[in-house]
């Protein structure tokens, strides 16, 4: 069943990325019909996984017939089997169903955190690269300071301030990951600013605004597409770390980190309650990393 649903979706995703930022026929997925370059298996795997996540997000019922919250105490703690693919938890809830339905919570937090993170990063990165010297120096210093806090610690500091909740997890992870991305955007804009084409545009006498809008912004923004893909996966991992510490999203939510934390209590009796949600998180992180990398490579090829 899963192959049936994934095949059309894969092609959708594949061509979906084609005409986007790269805009060249060199997009690896587009070479499917005309095999110009061999498609790496990691990309295929990532696209298949992405298709599963998209279906789980849009139509979870299509992937799992089980109600994720239906209790069945007679079927508690059953190992993975024919009826319950991923086994059941202590209250007899179907784990596969909970994972499928939990995709929404997990991805919502990942997307929310990414929005917060990239929002902060773009503002700070652009200020550090483009603002007049005193402002830029101040923002530089601020970035340097924020970068001294490891992501998880910055996030924990915010959780301590705001109290644990889903919204806090989103903000905390967003703020925690922002400094790294801000530094990256700053480097990106500076790179564009010092490039030959900008120098040429300035030498041709174009106005500052035109140079900024026509040359610097597009070249600095393009790599962001890959960053966003990476960031969503990373944010979900960080958010699930918070849940795992009991400081993120609390049960009965089926957010994957919360599932893992709940399964930890039964680690001696029911391995599947921790192993399987963890596998899903790893799969998602790998998917976004792989897609992000391929996007980045495709974009770099497009630039040439």
């Amino acid at each position: 069943m899963s192959t049936l649903t994934t095949t059309p979706d894969t092609s959708n995703e594949g061509t979906g990325t084609g005409p986007g930022p790269g805009g060249r026929a060199s997009d690896p997925a587009a070479g499917r019909t005309v095999p110009r370059r061999e498609i790496p298996w990691s990309l295929v795997a990532a696209l298949v996984a992405l298709a599963w996540f998209v279906v789980a997000l849009v139509a979870p019922a299509a992937l799992s017939p089980h109600d994720p919250l239906a209790l069945d105490l007679g079927a508690a703690l059953q190992p993975p089997g024919w009826l319950h693919w991923a086994g059941t938890d202590e209250a007899g809830r179907d784990l596969y169903g909970r994972i499928v339905w939990g995709t929404r919570d997990s991805l919502a937090i990942g997307a929310g955190a990414t929005t917060v993170s990239i929002g902060i990063a773009v503002v700070l990165g652009a200020l550090a690269a483009l603002a007049p010297t005193p402002v830029a120096a101040a923002v530089d210093a601020l970035l340097e300071i924020l970068f001294a806090f490891p992501t998880l610690l910055l996030a924990l500091l915010l959780v301590a301030l705001l109290g644990p909740s889903a919204a806090t997890a989103m903000i905390a992870v967003g703020v925690g990951t922002a400094p790294g991305y801000a530094r990256m955007i700053r480097a990106q804009i500076l790179g564009a600013k010092r490039s030959g084409y900008v120098e040429a545009a300035v030498a041709l006498g174009h106005k500052r605004r035109r140079v900024l809008v026509r040359h610097i912004v597009p070249n600095a923004v393009r790599p962001l597409v890959a960053v966003v893909a990476l960031s969503i996966g990373q944010s979900i991992v960080w958010a699930s770390s918070l849940s795992f510490l009991g400081l993120g999203i609390a049960p009965p939510s089926s957010e994957w980190g919360a599932l893992l934390d709940a399964g930890r209590t039964y680690v001696t009796q029911a391995w599947w309650l921790t192993v399987i949600p963890g596998l899903v998180i790893v799969a998602l992180a790998l998917t976004t990393t792989t897609l992000g990398k391929h996007l980045q490579r495709a974009l770099e090829r497009g630039e040439r």
Binding site: I145, F149, L157, A160, L161, L260, R264, V267, V282, L286
Partner: protein, 357 residues
Amino acid sequence: MTLTSSAETHTHTDADAPPASGGRPRVDPGGAGRATDAGRPSRAGRLARGAARRVGGAVVVLAGAATVAFVAQAVLPGDRATVIFNTRAGQAIERTPEELAAINAEYGLQHPLVVQYVDYMKGLLVGDLGSSYQQHRPVTQIIGEQLAPTLVLTLSAIVLAWLLMVAWVTLTAGRGPRLRAVGEAVDTASAAVPHYWLGVILLMAFALRLGIAPVISGSTPAGLLLPALTLAIPLAGFMGQATRTEFERSLDQPFVTTARLRGMGDLGVRLRHVLRHSALPAVTLSGWALGATISGAVVVESVFTRPGIGRVLVNAVNSQDLPIVTGVVVLIAALYVVANLIVDVVHTALDPRVTTA
């Protein structure tokens, strides 16, 4: 994460590179090189100047981190004295002015914020991180009791990560496309594994099934293995990603051919020549790695029920005991800054081009 780390490497070379002097500077504003007869600063002088600038930068970052910590305590929602009292008593009720006055006096909250800030920074200079809301003890004391196990764990994890990474990259890099694909896949996968999950898996496999390691690791040497491995595997993956590219590039260098012509064996070439050249990106990463590993330790200590500042931190976040939270965070930020300073110095020592370029 991959991008973040590579970005770090980029900005490092970008931000830390001294202004291009072209090797023959006419002006010498610092005056460090006046003593040399040729009129160009000596290498030692330039190194000293670079080091001084880096130390200055580190001090700014530390002061900034402390300021962030102070602001975090000051912006805690609600009246601070009430919050402290309720945190301590585990209740949420209004307090009488007399009760609050005692708290205000204890934490100096009756002073204006500026005075509190100056007091806080002065305290930090002499190693005073304030005192806990709940435990009524100095934060330094609470952290001091728990710091050693965390440092032991972190350092063993970093050493273990280097061993794993060097072994894996030496074995798989530059040995044909198939092995490269496997090597890269393992790097990526291990870098993507979250600490908490890897920890639980290792715990289940080695402690519960095979019974080779204790389930609750405590602070025994035997109990150190699984937690250290949990932290080391993802770190090895990250460093492997950074090293592999350089490693393969170095394998094509003329000096490798020369070494081979001298009759040196493959393993010898890889370990003696190639590794030395390709380890630089990973060295640059180790400052970042220390921070990442310590924050990973927060999770790992919770998985393996190990004592350490991670446990202290999680408990403090739970009870909103902010002085402990900010104390731990500032301490780790300080460790990060110092580690990066050392990395910069080591980097310069390993690769003279960094200063002469």
